[in-house]
């Protein structure tokens, strides 16, 4: 093991309309903040599937930050409320899985709040630094996961009354 100090890796999912614009504002205002945050732009915080958060941890993130518009300001009416609903259930589940609360964070940051991006990124970096690296133990998968798959394997569709009709819809 090398003696390099631990630098946390934080993946941030920022919504296009508010938080990402705020990060842009922080940039053009030349605000300095921790370089530990890697931003991924999504159209809406409501697009953040809990699988994204877990995949980030799986692939080496020590913390995950989600940024969306303030409640009432969502470009898509209430995508951010959906993000909040998932977050409030995801965080207790992650707690039970040994992932500390400080490693996942949801913040409402409007397009005008460049300074809030700076503050939140700095705060979270320091909190995660104090926690140390996330030590996942994941086995290698011997069987490669199939990348593509038919949406419906009709041979295996058990005779269920409405199935054919539904299967047809899926195929279209």
């Amino acid at each position: 093991m090398s003696e390099q100090p631990f630098e946390p890796r934080i993946v941030a999912f920022f919504c296009n309309w508010c938080t990402y614009t705020a990060a842009d504002l922080a940039g053009i205002s030349r605000m300095q903040y921790a370089p530990n945050v890697r931003v991924i732009r999504l159209m809406c915080s409501g697009r953040v599937d809990p699988q994204f958060v877990l995949a980030a941890f799986r692939d080496g993130a020590d913390g995950v930050l989600i940024g969306g518009c303030h409640p009432g300001d969502c470009h898509y009416q209430e995508g951010n409320v959906n993000a909040l609903r998932r977050f409030e259930l995801l965080r207790p589940m992650l707690r039970d899985l040994g992932v500390e609360d400080e490693r996942v964070r949801l913040e409402w940051i409007s397009a005008a709040e460049g300074d809030k991006v700076q503050r939140v990124c700095n705060e979270m970096t320091e909190q995660v630094r104090a926690l140390g690296p996330l030590r996942l133990v994941t086995p290698k998968r011997v069987t490669p996961k199939r990348v593509t798959s038919p949406r419906v394997t009709s041979t295996w569709t058990v005779p269920v009354e409405r199935a054919d009709e539904l299967v047809g819809q899926e195929a279209r």
Binding site: D49, P50, Q51, V53, L54, A55, F57, R58, P71, E78, V81, N82, L84, R85, R86, E88, L89, L90, P92, M93, D96, L97, G98, V99, L131, G132, P133, L134, R135, L136, V137, T138, P139, K140, R141, V142, T143, P144, K145, R146, S149, P150, R151, V152, T153, T155, W156, T157, V158, V160, E161, R162, A163, L166, V167, E170
Partner: protein, 342 residues
């Protein structure tokens, strides 16, 4: 013409999958007519040496149920992999880890500590634990090694097909065996079940509201559920929207919500996360404290959403706390994971 040879084996499982084979009832006669069962420890008196005596690839298929936790299980499934043309992960445990996979919430050490020392029913023994090797006058006794973590079958050997369910429904088993005999199996890696969500075949689908929202979640014992109405609409955590169909909605027919044993559909990577996502979006509340309160009504989120799939999930197991932060020098998960969930 000689009949194709098949083998059945069980690993970390409850025996329910073997029961499911027996539950084929008279169809089992067609199965026995079509194939030769050469290894089935639960039901037939063949030994591992009989399997070793087979040529590589001589078995048409090996149906393996249960998750993998011990060295014995690893050895036998590796042997079966060599001998079998096709390996079928049979049931939720072999595919996703299943109920035994929830042991991944605890460390190996805390499990052994509880079972052999801490449990209220353990008396005496002076903390003696089973040893992998013991010398007795009659010779050396061996026990399998108990692994650090529960793994799915495809994390140990290459798997060709998956039969979902806890246990797999008998019509899917019969279809799989017959397809194997007739050589019309789908592409390797397929899950041998329909690839749509359970809601598609739910007899209560008609009563699922267009805009389904939940004011509060109930546990099944807290309410008397109406036997004809969508269980989600009644506030029960039913994983139907995020779980593969093919089971015939038998739990729903018994007025119990789906717990997700059929696993995810093919577009989902992490069943628990997707199920959580589906259920969370239904919460009616809009304010943070109200949402948190409703979310808190799901008392055991990991056990609810990852009931059958923790070892197959992206995180695989409970994360051990950082050594630097634990006073005892042992991963904190070892000491706390058993207790803090009660």
């Amino acid at each position: 013409m000689t009949k194709p040879k098949v083998a059945f084996y069980w690993c970390a499982s409850c025996g329910g999958c073997e029961e499911a084979v027996v539950d084929l009832n008279e169809v089992v006669l067609d199965v026995v007519e079509a194939v030769d069962i050469v290894f089935w420890p639960v039901a037939l008196d063949f030994k591992v040496s009989d399997v070793e005596a087979l040529a590589d690839g001589e078995l048409a298929a090996a149906f393996i149920n249960g998750a993998i936790r011990t060295s014995e299980q690893r050895e036998v499934v590796e042997l079966l992999r060599r001998k079998a043309g096709a390996v079928v992960a049979f049931g939720a445990c072999a595919w996703l880890g299943g109920i035994p996979g929830l042991a991944n919430l605890s460390s190996r050490e805390s499990i052994l500590e509880f079972v052999y020392q801490g449990s209220p029913s353990t008396q005496g023994g002076d903390g003696v634990r089973p040893q992998e090797e013991t010398e007795v006058p009659e010779g050396r006794l061996r026990l399998p090694h108990f692994d650090e973590t529960v793994r799915t079958l495809d994390q140990v050997i290459e798997v060709d097909y998956y039969l979902p369910g806890c246990p797999p429904p008998s019509n899917l088993i019969a279809q799989a065996v017959m397809a194997l005999v007739e050589g019309r199996l789908p592409e390797k890696g397929s899950v041998l079940a329909p690839d749509v969500a359970l809601c598609a075949e739910c007899p209560r689908a008609e009563t699922k509201p267009q805009d389904l929202t939940v004011e509060r979640f109930h546990r099944p014992y807290e309410i008397v559920a109406d036997p004809d109405t969508c269980l989600l609409a009644q506030g029960l955590v039913c994983l139907g929207p995020a779980t593969r169909s093919g089971c015939g909605a038998v739990c729903i027919a018994a007025n119990m919500p789906c717990t997700g044993c059929m696993g995810p559909t093919s577009r989902v990577i992490d069943h628990g996360a997707k199920a959580l996502s589906a259920i969370a979006s239904l919460m009616q509340a809009r304010e943070q404290d109200e949402i948190a309160a409703i979310a808190g009504q799901i008392v055991d989120p990991v056990g609810t959403f990852y009931r059958y799939s923790l070892p197959a999930s992206l995180l695989h197991r409970r994360v051990a706390a950082n050594g630097a932060r634990s006073a005892a020098g042992e991963p904190v998960g070892a000491a706390s994971s058993g207790g803090d969930r009660s």
